[in-house]
Amino acid sequence: MKMMKTALTAGALALVPFAVLAEDSSDPIVIPIHNWSSQIVMSNVVGQILEGAGNSVEYVTTDSQAVYESVRLGDVTLEMEVWEGAFGASFRAAMEKGGIVDVGDHNAVTREDWWYPMWTKDACPGLPDWKALNDCAAIFATPETGEKGRYLDGPVDWLKHGAERVEALDMNFQVINAGSAAALWAEIGAAEADKKPIVVFNWTPNFAEAVWPGEFVEFPAWEEGCDKDPAVGPNPDALYDCGNPATGYLKKAAWDGMEAKWPAAYAILEKVSFTNPQIAQMAKLVDIDELEPDEAATAWMEANPDVWSGWVN
């Protein structure tokens, strides 16, 4: 017990100089890391900015859905990438329970929809129009789907309503749900070998754009209420008869105690905002150039000082 006390005192003393400088608590700010590169590098960039401002920072690897419960409890201090499509539901649920705050949007738009790699276009030249896609449904058939084409949707917990759309637009497709992002990549990777046509759920910004150039399928454009009012969209009797909004948000979120405990860090976080090309750049440093995430963050910061130096101070 005595040893533990000594240790704690020693630990606290070691951190005192920082505490005086920043007026923030000397406790480490805990930043969660998930399993896709842009989020990892962005979290490292923000971590290094905060460290530069005198805060102590720690990273923790977590599941990207379960993280919202941890932010609410204050175990994790902030979250750099809240995707409207993939995590909007979890984020809103956590907001309702309390303990988490919205720290504003990045200057980036996210888009999530049906997508195909470029080689698909050779077999189905009418793309990206959705009607053309429907006309070549047969080339997307698999043994399991028989005559129909297969559309590979995201995991069920992302709530993408692929099946409803197929129904609403009377498409000749069967929807199969992948279990994880990794499963989607595996299917694209397998199709790549002999350039088999494939249509899957995908989103931007992410690393896949750099590895497999491709396009989104153009569905009837999103109109407000398409998911609530059957009258909206081409089919008067069905919901989800348009594409997803092409401009979803990408938010930052934080524990509601952060502002009081680390006011300076919170002020920086409020200003942080990345754009689509910046996010793609960060992902590329890891996915293509094979840097480790912390090195990638340092490299990115060295290359783009004008982007982030305004956020400090």
Partner: protein
Amino acid sequence: MNGTGSMTRGQAAIGLLIGAVVLTVAQYIGWLPNWMHRLPETAIPNFAMVLDIIFNFVKDDLGLLTFTRTLTEGLEWLLDVSGNIFYGKNRWPNIGPMPWTGLAAIAAVTGYYLGGWRLSLLGGGTMIWTALIGQWTIAMQTMSVLAIAAPLAFVIGLSLGIAAWKYEWVDKTIKPVLSVLQTLPFFTYLLPAVIFFKVGPTAGAVATTIYAIPPMILMTTLGLQKVSSEVVEAGKMSGCSKYQMLRHVYLPSARTEILVGVNQVIMLCLAMVVLTAFIGMPGLGAKLLAMMGSFKLGRSFEIGVTIVLLAVMLDRMSKAWVVKQPEHFERGTPFWKRHQMLLLGAGLFVGFTLLSLVLPIAAEIGRKQDFSQGKELDNLIKGFLDIEVVKSTTWFLRAFVNVKILIPFRDFMLSIPTFAFIMLVTAFALSLAGRKQAVLAALFFSLVALSGWWDRAIITLYSVVAAVTIAAIIGLPIGIIAARSEKWSTRVLLMCDTAQTFPSFVYLIPAIMLFGITDIAVIFSILIFAMVPLMRYTIEGLRTVPPEMTEAADMSGATRMQKLWNVQLPLALPTMAIGFNQAIMFAFFMVIIAAFIGTQDLGQELQRTLAGTNLGKNFVLGICVSLMALTFDLTIMKWAADKKRALGLP
């Protein structure tokens, strides 16, 4: 079990079977009303809500959260210290990290001390591989948590094991709790671990510890029960106190079993390395998930190899420790001679540490200096998948096995009316085990029906049954052939160790690339895992057939086939049944993980609850899996025990 008793049991089982068939036929003709096929929605109680209320009550009103969070602080301090020592986390005592060369020397010397130059090579080699491949820091992050979790599991398991041996009631309460814990899917541990023990290494350490405790308890109890009465008498005669009896008589006599428990703890800890990354465990698992997220097969494969090497190294070393008897020296042997290995290890460690101060590469190998072959491996894997034979085989499997066999089988299982299905399972338990197991089977499956997740539960069961069946078709012959010679037994067992510790996530991706997101990919990934115990226990069972029996068969002029079918297999069957049971348990474990491929079963729903808002539902789903697994566990284990007794085997 007397003759007439089993007759009536058999008749009852056949009666249930006929009832089930009649109901199913009625369903196909269309005579069965809907409410007889599936329980109507209105009949399903809202277990999830009740569980949510209980959970919140225990968490907040009873103050469990405050209690566990206090424990977490202590645990966090321990993890910080080991984090500093292993990978230089910025915490007290600020002395780490240890240089890789130093640790490699320690591993080599320990290996030599325990098992000669081969183990020495394995120990040192593993460390050198880890460093050269560029995974040193992440491997040490993993080890820093395991270095706390494994001893914790050991201490708790040993204490509970002693308590269970000492007090009948502890034994009676612990057994069912352990069974449920072992069958509960991992996704059900995840949220409570995060809520009560804080996301990060702490939750990772707690989840690992809980997962690793059960065999330690069982082995401790087993070892203590086996202590011979002569030894106990000798201890009593020399006037030992109660504590002295335990410390100097019982525990040393149970040394072998306890060390086997330690070995199991280590293996289970390593099995959790990747899964715990979902709740904040740093290191190899987290890196593996990140690599898979960006489709880097080669580097995930390398991480898998590191995990296997670490596991095999620790396994072999701890097993060598089990066999090694304590050394005794003559009085007057000088200190340095008694501890020469310890001194050699310490000396080398200090030497390398000093060296690393002047030569940075001896301390850490940077990203640019490593020998990772990630990209080349990527191409190799993709090249393999592109071979024409491989492609046509997998296409055939998809078009034939999946469409013509698996999917119709699944649809058939789904078409059986709920009540008929419960009757079938009850008949199965009744004919194999007995009345008690039959009652439990009926109760457990009725609860699953009442949970409202029946269809998904049946799909889960379908994957398990299909995978274990195929695993048996492939695994049993391999086991039987391997059991013929010592050499092949060892080889197949090494294969089993590798398959068991190689992170399943790594082969989920190739499975998808081979078979697409289909039932085959799911069953394939379960299959690899489920074959391990089948092969292992078949070899074990066949090789422990008493030699008198096989000699008797030889003397009466039996051919090899006759000997196998009439002597060896019947005698090995109870042991093989245990393997079969474990295969089912492993399959239930893996089928939930296979949700990452894409399934429509309980695992998919469990994955959906991870966002943290549906704790009650998460528990209901988890318990459904557990109840189904327990039904099989109770039935098969009872059958194996009966059979063993009947055959007069130990």
